[in-house]
């Protein structure tokens, strides 16, 4: 025993601890988040925010312009998705305030059918908002939705979408003073 035994024990503890961490780490993975959020506001308010499309568009990313053609149809212009500018017409096909809005959007890249449902969340938690979207294979539009839902939630609850802040540092600049901390 003695020194050799102690050393083996020491390394053994170390190895067990490392392996446990590796195992647990493997359980943490990229998980797709369904496009559903709870917004701490009553369903009527959340519905009204959503149904006012030019207002909704100001909160969503990528949308540069929305023109309402009539009660049901609107013309959307998006930038920053795909190659350049995307334009399409969106038509509301079902409108049941304050419970549900269903729409259909035409044209190429972002052709999809969508439905948003608003349900009262239990215990004064506000409104459960769930998005259902069927689009072309590739899921580009679905990838955008969770982020967009968060922006709507941030705007309704906190009044603004927090900007990340300035950070235009180069990867390496000479330090004025530096050293081990």
């Amino acid at each position: 025993m003695g020194v050799a035994g102690a050393a083996v024990g020491y390394l053994g503890v170390r190895a067990v601890r490392l392996m446990a961490a590796v195992r647990a780490g493997a359980e943490i993975g990229v998980r797709r988040r369904p496009p559903a959020v709870t917004i701490h506001r009553p369903p009527t308010e959340v519905y009204a925010f959503w149904r006012d499309l030019p207002n909704l568009a100001r909160t969503l990313g990528h949308v540069t312009r929305v023109d309402e053609v009539d009660d049901r149809r609107s013309r959307w212009v998006l930038e920053g998705i795909g190659p350049a500018r995307v334009e399409f017409t969106l038509e509301i096909v079902r409108d049941e305030p304050p419970r549900l809005i269903e729409w259909r959007a035409g044209d190429e890249l972002l052709a999809h059918q969508g439905r948003v449902e608003f349900t009262r969340a239990p215990g004064n938690r506000g409104t459960e908002v769930r998005l259902h979207v069927a689009g072309p294979p590739g899921g580009r539009i679905e990838d955008l939705l969770y982020g967009e839902l968060r922006r709507v939630k941030q705007t309704l609850e906190g009044g603004e979408v927090l900007a990340v802040g300035r950070r235009d540092l180069p990867a390496r600049v000479p330090a004025a003073t530096g050293g081990r901390a």
Binding site: Y10, R14, A15, V16, R17, L18, A20, A21, V22, A24, G25, I28, G29, V30, R31, R33, T38, H40, R125, G126, R150, K153, Q154, L156, E157, G158, G159, E160, V161, L162, A163, V164, G165, R166, R167, D168, L169, A171, R172, V173, A175, A176, T177, G178, G179, R180, A181
Partner: protein
């Protein structure tokens, strides 16, 4: 402006970075007059917290002067001296509405990393990693404070900045830890860690009615400071068996509540470089919850263990058996600054909480790397270093 930035594992440096500006209508820009080091900065510096980027500005515990406000800021005026809490709360989500501000749903601009690591994203915090939103910290001449109406508080006239600075984070963290203990008459509270948070938690426990408070550490001058300024008993774990000493002190019951104010880099007899190359190779840096283990083992049956030290990832050897079979309550969380900051400011103004003695070193920001070195080594009696970015 000058700012103290993270340079990679184990390294910080003073750099020139862009001045912050108002980016959202509820932002304020604060000219930082004093900014404190914190034990949790060491976890960031040492690479235990994922999502640090070279150039990230450190610091989250500070006082300063409001120099600019966004158009939607309602309660703050330019020229006011303020103390600012580190966590950012939107004020409108269910968590903020129920006074759980550190859990705010909306302030992390990119919740992807915390959602992947923890399932959900807590609030953003200043001077942390991307896991908490990557917002620039207060070790700088200026700092942007989002949702400033909720996070920044006027410093009462009778409080010095040297005291008020700890109303930002250390004192509220200590207060929340003691509150989590649900202290009743006759309770004996043990606190692991005699740093600023541990000492302020011990003081809060006494104010909240603990019969007796005992603080555990190995740094003798910190223990002496705790005895002198907080009026508590202390245990030096290098000289006594802590479990045995606590059983003796409580006549076999164990402390009614245990507060952990140490965090993920606790002394485990192996040391910080224990996992060295093997850990790096496997891509993990296991945390060392030594004090959590001790607290759970020491706590009396049915008692409460409150975690105020910071953990970020994974820790092994967790005594779940003791937790379960002794029927313990485990509570934790980053402090809800917007709830507790006014409470501790009030306690400080009344003289029930003293914090000025915690600042053992004060220096210009340009000496930031030296300040962290002193703090890390607990050298020269160092308890807290504050940087003065305007000097």
């Amino acid at each position: 402006m000058k700012a103290l930035c993270w340079e990679g594992v184990g390294r910080v440096a003073v750099r020139t970075v862009p001045d912050p500006r108002i980016e959202n209508d509820r932002d304020a820009i604060v000219r930082v007059t004093a900014s404190s080091v914190c034990g949790s900065d060491l976890h960031l510096i040492d690479g235990y917290v994922p999502g640090m980027r070279v150039g990230d500005v450190l610091g989250h515990e500070f006082v300063g002067e409001v120099v600019e406000t966004g158009p939607e800021v309602r309660t703050l005026q330019v020229g006011e001296q303020v103390v600012v809490g580190p966590t950012i709360g939107c004020g409108g989500c269910w968590f903020c509405d129920t006074d759980q501000w550190a859990l705010c749903d909306n302030t992390n601009p990119d919740p992807t990393l915390p959602e992947r690591l923890w399932g959900q994203s807590p609030a953003a915090a200043l001077g942390s990693s991307q896991v908490a939103g990557g917002l620039a910290g207060s070790h700088a001449e200026y700092v942007r404070v989002p949702f400033a109406d909720y996070g920044a508080y006027r410093i009462p006239l009778d409080l010095t900045p040297e005291s008020a600075i700890y109303a930002s984070d250390a004192a509220p963290t200590g207060w929340m830890a003691a509150e989590m203990c649900d202290i009743h008459g006759g309770d004996i509270v043990a606190v692991w860690g005699a740093g600023a948070v541990g000492q302020l938690a011990a003081r809060a426990a006494a104010v909240l009615g603990a019969e007796r408070v005992v603080v555990i550490d190995r740094v003798t001058d910190r223990l002496a400071t705790a005895r002198d300024n907080v009026g508590v008993d202390t245990l030096d774990y290098t000289g006594v068996d802590v479990q045995e000493a606590l059983l003796e002190l409580t006549a076999g019951r164990g402390p009614d509540a245990c507060i952990e104010a140490v965090g993920m880099e606790a002394d485990d007899g192996v040391g910080p470089d224990g996992h060295g190359w093997a850990g790096r190779l496997l891509g993990v840096r296991p945390e060392r919850p030594t004090a959590v283990r001790e607290a759970i083992l020491a706590c009396r049956k049915g008692g409460t263990v409150a975690l105020s030290g910071a953990f970020a990832g994974l820790a092994d050897g967790f005594p779940l058996g003791a937790l379960m079979h002794k029927g313990l309550t485990l509570r934790s969380g980053q402090q809800h600054a917007q709830k507790y900051l006014p409470v501790v400011l009030d306690q400080m103004a009344r003289g029930d909480i003293r914090a000025d003695y915690l600042t053992t070193h004060s220096m210009p920001l340009s000496e930031g790397p030296r300040g962290y070195d002193l703090f890390r080594r607990r050298a020269d009696g160092c308890l807290r270093v504050i940087f003065r970015p305007q000097d």
